[in-house]
Structures are given as structure tokens and as C-alpha cells.
Amino acid sequence: MTIIKHELKANLKTMLIWAFSIGAIILAVMLMFPMMEEQLIEMGDLFSNMEGLSAALGLDQLSIYSAIGYYGSQVGVVLSLGGALFTAMLGADILSKEEAGHTAEFLLAFPISRANVVFQKLIAMIVVVFTFELICFSMATLSFVLIGESIPMPEFLLYHLAQFYLHIQIAFICFGISSFSKKANTGLALGIVTILYFTDIMIKTVENLEFLKYVTPFYYAGAGDIFSSGKIDSFLVFIGLIVSIFFVIVSCVKYSKKDIAA
């Protein structure tokens, strides 16, 4: 428990900054919806003439005229990509910062197993990501209330759960990779997110790349599918689970055995 509490405290400020920044963008973009409704009709026509772009934004399945369509296509990117950047950096940093900051020598000389350290840090990471999602979810809900639009449940909830799942999966991947490293991994984290995100864009815009959906978690968490069908591809979610578990085991095994850098 000690390390969990310690990590929650250490990450609280950064998490709040990210959550409220993304929440504020969600609010701002959604508050523009009533003013933009008319223009959106024109934009909708425009988008329908640009297949690639509209597919990338999920507008091939969503209608930008509706509040939820507008939310999914305009706000979805901010939440999924912004959240992924935050959680990737969190995951890449939470374990490797001990060696990078030379505090591993202090922490690991206590009577506590390495696996326990990894476990507590993982729990702290999950709690931080969950709180982040909760704040974003609350602010998104608030934005619908403020513009007087009804929220389509359960799709809205399912979408936010998918975001949580996506973000935690990315955090696990970065956590696993960072257990091999002796220094801060911000660049690596940003690189992983960028590659996975653009893989998703490629799938949606380029033909015959459908098979890549097994690679990027951005695919199953896309707003288009979830809001139009009200469902999520459970097989892809299952793959996500396997990937997450794999990286957790990797980090545990690797961290338990590795020589800690001086």
C-alpha cells in the first residue's frame, strides 16, 4: 500500500493537469455545437465529398449534424489521442524513473520484493488512469447538459469505457517496455502512441489494411463503430487483454531479474 499511495500522490498533479486540459477542450468544442449547427450541415456535405478524411474522423458512420456525431468525430480524437499520450508517458515513466532518478538504490534496498514494487506501481497506474477517465467522462457529460442535448446511453458509457481500456492498454505496453530501460522513456512513449494512432488512420483510409486492426487498440475504441452500432468488437478487446497481460508479465519477470543501474 505504501508505494501505491506514494505513486498516487506523485502523479496527482500531472494527472489533474491532463484531465482538466482535455476536459476543457471537450467542453469548449461541445459548447460551440449549438452555434455551429447550421454551418455543420454545409460541413457535412463537404465531408461526404472527402471520403478519406471523413472515414478517419468516423464520419462515414456518424452524422456530424447530431450532437453525438459531432462529439464522436470532433471530440473523440482529443480524448483518445490526448489520453493515450498521457497514459503512455505515465506507463513509461512510473517504473523507469527510479533508475533514471537514482532512487532505485533507495527504494529497492527496503524489504520488499521487486515483483511487489511492480505490482503496486501497476495498481497506482490503473487508479490514476481511471480517475483521469472519470474526470474526462464527467466533463463530457457536463458539456451535453450545458448545451441541452440528451446523452445516448449506453453508447456514451461504452465509448468512455473503451477509452479507459485503450488508455490502460497503452500504459501497460509502455510499462512493459520501460522495464528494460535504465532511463526516462518519454520519446519512446510518444513514438508508440503516434505509430498506433496512425496505424488506425491508415486502416480507415487505405484499403486492404483491415488486418492491422489486430495491432492497434485505437481501432476498437473508435467513436464511429461504437456510436453507430452500440457495440464493441469483443475479439479485439480480448486481444487487448492478452497484450496487456503479456506486457505485465514481461515487466514483472524482467524487473525481478534485472541488474539495477547505479
Binding site: 506523485a10 532505485a104 538504490e105 534496498a109 527496503f110 524489504p111 520484493s113 541488474d259
Partner: protein, 289 residues
Amino acid sequence: MNNIIEINNLTKKYGKARGISDLNFSVKEGDMFGFIGPNGAGKSTTIRLMLGLISPSSGSISIFEKDSKENKIEILQRVGYMPSEAMFYPKMRVDEIIDFSAKLHNKNCKNQSSELCERLKVNTKKKIEELSLGNRKKISIICAMQHEPDLYIMDEPTSGLDPLMQKEFFDLLLERNKRGATVFLSSHILSEIQRYCKNAAVVREGKLITVDSVEQLAKANAKRVKIYGICEVPKLDGIKDIFQKENNVEFLYHGKIAALINELQHLSIDDMVIEEPSMEEIFMHFYEN
């Protein structure tokens, strides 16, 4: 007396240069044991192996008569470790760090920690990032001592501490030692080893040079000889570290005293002094060959 630390054929290979090879020594219960060597000799590597921060390439370590790999957690419960680099989480306050470390030991150390803070004159409300190296070292001392361990492992503990604090630190260590705790003190400052330790091991370039009582080490058969009235060096084997001046000569002599006196008989000397060399000089000796 039991062996608190026992190191058997310990080897750690890193790439080419660093690391240690085939180290063997033991530390008895209740000892103040010095671990001497220049920078890069492998002192920290040995300590990090003892704590399980790194794994040996071969050989074994037993602490409290238990294998250090198999019983790591059990051992660490009874160890107080002070790393050479006193690094903590920069955003935390001193009292938070002390509390964090007590909790990781699962012990209430309030009395001990407040006594230690008082004796070491620590301001517990400051943030770690505001502290100088010396002040961080003090936090390190508190974190290593507050849970009253049976074995203290100190890696170059006095660097950065002012002389008054060094004295306070050694007073604390000696008190704990008197109450039965064992101290393992790594240092390259020989005078402090000579002053406070009973036994010591000397390492150089990853190899053990010698283990002995500090008293024996200080003798080491060598004498510092100062001769007045002549300035040429006597023709003898075992003469080192020569200083020649106008009317005197000074050197370190490693050999039979009779041979020295025999040689000096024919010389017109005014005066001479034969004394025990300082440990620094002996160390240079070990270091040279």
C-alpha cells in the same frame, strides 16, 4: 562469534573493465568492518551484490547465515543501507521521505527518527530538492538507522558531511555497534577506517588485496625512516617512497630492521627517526604493486 556476512568466490563481470573477481571474506557479528579501496575498486559493486540490487556472475553471499538471494526480504528487514549517492524523490518533504521509509520497513520509528533528526540537525519541513548533498546524506543516515537494524551497510557515508556531522555520525554508529549491531563501512578515507574500525578488507581493481585487523594492517611490516646528516639512500632492498633533501633523506622501508641498522652503521648520520607509517602510506603501498 557468528559470521554476519560471508562472501564466497564472488564474481561480477561487467563488459570489460569494471566488476569484481573471486572475492572472499567474512565479517563477524559485532564488528566494525572497514572496506577500503580507491574509486572504481568494486566497493559499491560488492555492496550492491550484498543487497541484491544486482546479481553475481558466480559465487555466493550469505548474510545472517542465510543465502542473500533466497532470503533477500528477510535479510533486508534487518539491514540499514546508506547508498553513496543520497538520492530521493525531489518533490517530497524530508519528513515524508522518513515516514515513507519507516512504512516500507513496516515499523513505527517515530522516537528513533525524531532523536536522529535532532542529533543530526535536520529540518524536516524542507523539500528534498532544496537540500545540499550533505543534508541529503543526513536523510540517508536517518533512513538507514531509524528502524534499528542489526547490520549497517554504509557506502562512503561521510562524503559531503562537515567534520562536526562526521563526528556525530560516527558517534551514532559506535553507539549502535556497542549495542551489538555489526557495521560494514566502505570508504576511501583511511583515517576514518583506522580510527573507528576493528577489521578491514582492502580491494583494488575488483580483487581482494588483504583482510586483517586494522592494527595489523597499520603495521604491515613497513616503517617510515627519516635520517638526518646524509642525503643518499642506503643500498637496501625494500626501500620505497623516497624523499631526498639537502641534509636528510626519508623513505618507507619494508624489510628486516637488522639489515637496515647494519647498513646504516657505516654512514655518518646525525639523527634518525623510525616510525609507524600512516595508513595512507600503507595503502599507497598496496595500491602500487
